[in-house]
Symmetry: C2
Subunit: 201 residues, 2 copies
């Protein structure tokens, strides 16, 4: 039997993370087995445990990758805009881009958050969303200060709705089975959100 070409540990970890994210786009993340991951990267199941102590450890590595990639992209997008509302729209679209590129990610996040007992991966997921919410709240406050966003609305509520708006698009795409469709729906949905928070002079 031919064996896979040997690779250094760090490279294998990266390939593993990639495989998990790809598989999560095709099936229910909680049903992804170590055997399935190994098969997808042309490796035997036991070999995975040369690079990860436990399966939880794999999930943690994946969540950390997601955290770094996602947060990095969002922060960079935010800083590329000066007007708060424009920044929010750009972040919205960047977020949509991200989830259409990696459709498994929102599934993993939501699935992880549902778990009853604490896991390192769940902690990473929680802090990711917490951090995201904080950035949004800061932007909304800016928008209120500059007069672009209405003072009438609650900052936290507006942040929750921003994320919920995307969540709703994702759910719709899961229903239709076509993740790419949310690219078309996103602008119209964001328009409604923007009408909801902007001030009318």
């Amino acid at each position: 039997m031919q064996i896979s070409s040997k690779l250094p540990a760090e490279e294998r970890r990266e390939i593993t993370i990639n495989a998990v994210i790809k598989l999560a786009g095709l099936q229910n993340p909680s049903e992804i087995t170590t055997a399935a991951i190994a098969k997808h990267m042309q490796l035997t199941q036991g070999a995975l445990f040369r690079h990860f102590a436990t399966k939880d450890d794999i999930w943690l590595a994946v969540m950390e990758w997601v955290r770094d990639q996602f947060t990095g992209q969002i922060i960079r997008t935010e800083h590329s805009m000066s007007e708060p509302l424009a920044a929010m729209q750009a972040m919205f679209m960047r977020h949509i881009d991200f989830v259409t590129k990696y459709p498994g990610v929102p599934r993993m996040l939501f699935g992880e958050l549902q778990k009853a007992k604490w896991t390192p991966a769940k902690g990473a997921a929680q802090s990711l969303i917490k951090h995201y919410t904080e950035r949004l709240c800061a932007l909304i406050e800016q928008g209120k200060a500059s007069g672009d966003i209405s003072d009438d609305i609650d900052t936290k509520d507006a942040a929750v709705l921003f994320i919920g708006t995307i969540q709703g698009l994702i759910m719709q795409s899961i229903l239709s089975g076509d993740i790419q469709r949310i690219r078309n729906d996103a602008p119209g949905v964001f328009k409604i959100y923007q009408r909801g928070i902007r001030s009318w002079k």
Copy 2:
């Protein structure tokens, strides 16, 4: 060993559905085992299969219960209001009421929809949301006709956002671990949604 008092089949099915919904509020629905369900209703695991052919059959029964309860309540609420926007607000609050009363339900729904392969329970979940979306679209069209809702916005987008808004609140409550908190947040979030769709004359 003392055995549980015998009950007629139909009653046992109802008790089972109740147990599943209660358990789903406490833990990740996909991790609920037949043993856990049986234990929660003071029954042995094997006895469950006197009333349900398979575990999938249990899930289907639960989803059908949810479909009947939820749809019934929402439809009744819709018909109790004459103005479209008022009806939507009432439906929003009824929906929030429902998920705070049965916190396991949204988890089950979302978890079921994520599954790769089709199951009867997944089909029931899909048709529930499809039907709900259709009712919302009809209401929004009514609102446009009466001039309460802006013609500028897309009906389907507005319906997606309505559900997404609630989805966002649920996610926030899962994060905070306190499902009851969404009762407080709901009015403020709906207010933003309403600003987003209503016409400004």
